[in-house]
Symmetry: C2
Subunit: 343 residues, 2 copies
């Protein structure tokens, strides 16, 4: 309705709204924030004025005094299928509360990641979500002092911030249980070698779960751990390592879907396939894993549900909660075509 010429015109401010409604700016502000201390009639009048003028609160000005209504998500790689589920879940709880979501891909180096975090703090974001951060607990705690923080997929438990994580230990166990049930005994686990010894990282918990389940089945002597990295090329390399083994496994838990895909690629190019060469299990239930030609048996982490939890926890933090909460979700095995009964 209020189209005008091509001229960029002055922003409508809260002062305009107040004037138009015949009230003070303070009152208009109260209505805007749904704050206590405004009569019903005033509330209605101000809201009408806002509508009529097409008023939109100006972020920087709000940021200078109070909230910006923005939540930042720091993530290494935007191309992570799990992330998309997480942000969907997160959006679904925070957008109705009129928070906006900003994702910043920060790469796999700790330094740029810290820079991104600082930038979000500098921009006065109201809360921060870090997904699988490349930092130690002390560094994360430093950040939590500056801004409400929820950490996803990281197992450090501090009183300074909240965490939401799947039970990675259990996830690895159910994989082993499934394989043992299919008759496998000699089973390999592909480890992300960088994470060795850092108990806050998911790979450590998955490794521990793997070893625990193997010994629970009396198979500790049959357990093989392959050191590689959790990416596509790491998967290819892991496949070569497995092929070079004297007494190879009949099943492999790749630790992550992307690793399993790398292994499949390598096998495929060598004229072999899965589960003929060996049974193979991933972890993440990424969208790719469900594709027809792939059909990877994997573990689902309920990313959407995690995103919702993250949203609730973060909003509580922003609104003042100070005790930490640490939510753990139960992972679920997704059986598809890459695991077969041993023959």
């Amino acid at each position: 309705m209020s189209e005008t010429s091509g001229q960029r015109r002055r922003r409508i401010t809260i002062v305009d709204v107040a004037k138009h409604a015949g009230v003070s700016t303070a009152s208009a502000s109260k209505v805007l924030r749904n704050a206590y201390g405004a009569s019903e009639s005033m509330r209605a009048r101000v809201q009408e004025a806002m509508e009529e003028l097409g008023y939109r609160p100006y972020g920087p000005a709000r940021g200078m005094r109070g909230r910006t209504f923005t939540i930042g998500v720091v993530v290494s790689d935007i191309e992570n299928p799990f992330l998309s589920l997480l942000t969907d879940g997160l959006s679904s709880v925070i957008r109705p509360l009129s928070y906006e979501l900003f994702v910043s891909p920060s790469g796999f180096q700790p330094l740029p990641q810290k820079a991104v975090v600082e930038a979000m703090i500098d921009h006065q974001m109201d809360g921060l979500v870090m997904v699988a951060p490349l930092m130690n607990a002390a560094e994360i705690e430093q950040i939590a002092m500056a801004i409400p923080l929820v950490v996803v997929g990281h197992h450090s438990r501090s009183h300074a911030f909240d965490t939401v994580a799947a039970d990675d230990n259990l996830g690895a166990q159910i994989v082993v249980d499934h394989l043992v049930e299919l008759g496998h005994r000699r089973i390999a686990f592909v480890m992300h070698a960088d994470g060795r010894g850092d108990n806050s990282r998911p790979e450590c918990h998955r490794l521990q779960g793997f070893e625990l389940a193997m010994s629970r089945h009396g198979l500790e002597r049959e357990a093989i751990v392959i050191d590689s990295r959790w990416n596509l090329d790491g998967g290819r390399e892991a496949a070569r390592q497995v092929a070079a083994l004297n007494s190879p496994p009949t099943a492999v838990h790749a630790g992550a879907d992307i690793v399993a895909l790398g292994m499949m690629s390598e096998l495929w190019e060598g004229g072999q396939s899965v589960p003929q060469a060996y049974s193979l299990v991933g972890y993440d239930n990424s969208r790719t894993s469900s594709l027809g030609p792939i059909r990877l048996t994997t573990v689902d982490q309920a990313g959407m549900e995690m995103g919702k939890r993250v949203g609730h926890l973060l909003v509580e933090r922003i609104e003042g909660r100070t005790e930490a909460r640490h939510d753990v979700l139960e992972p679920q095995l997704v059986i598809r075509g890459t695991t077969a009964r041993i023959t």
Copy 2:
């Protein structure tokens, strides 16, 4: 160095810096912005003070007067392999200029997408990138009046904003040329039906390129167009449509990788495979397309290079350019395992 207790302490402001350096805040501001009118000696002194105090400019305050040094990227779905390349390229040019990058996933509905755009404007971002926006040219022009804008993967050419796009028409042509060279004559193209008639959308250009190339080869009577949608399920449906054809094609250009993957899944589950059932080509050169079990022949759009172009154009716009620029990049065929010589 300057760690203190757990107390959240007051932010270091430009006033602190100015005091510490024994200059006025105006001068400190000039140094901060690399603005004209500060002597070398003052510049040095102020910069030293900033270092010593660990000063970080406060976003909202800057935003109230000038730039926020933030660039927003609006995208339907964060889980788009092309996006990751694009943001990598974009980051590589804007981060050194101390702009920060914020990506906001807005979903596949026009309304939430507009809301995200408005939020970015409200937060006084310095520039905006829209990837394959779900809007018409008029709506996009409205946005361009409010904020410097570069549009990616959208073929409208306005004087109000810049665009960066691959030559989709050419991309579809090289696919047809490749298939014809392999001996195919009856060839199908899967169309994203929503985009029919909207000449600003990539699918229209790809369709036109397909038809152009087919008639160039004298095969207009052999061209089949399948109406579906460009997502995984749309691919599955397209595969069923192809299967139901009386005189089926020997090759299919799926229009997008994700569609090809859906088709492959459907075929696979029906016990068929590619290229045995028919040759299949995607579009995007997504990471998934290169995986061993997939090895999809596809078209590469040079996402990283596009991101860099976007960055340069946007920074130029922010710095005052007003004439529009429309960059077109040449796509490249990537031949892999899903296309075969006809037997």
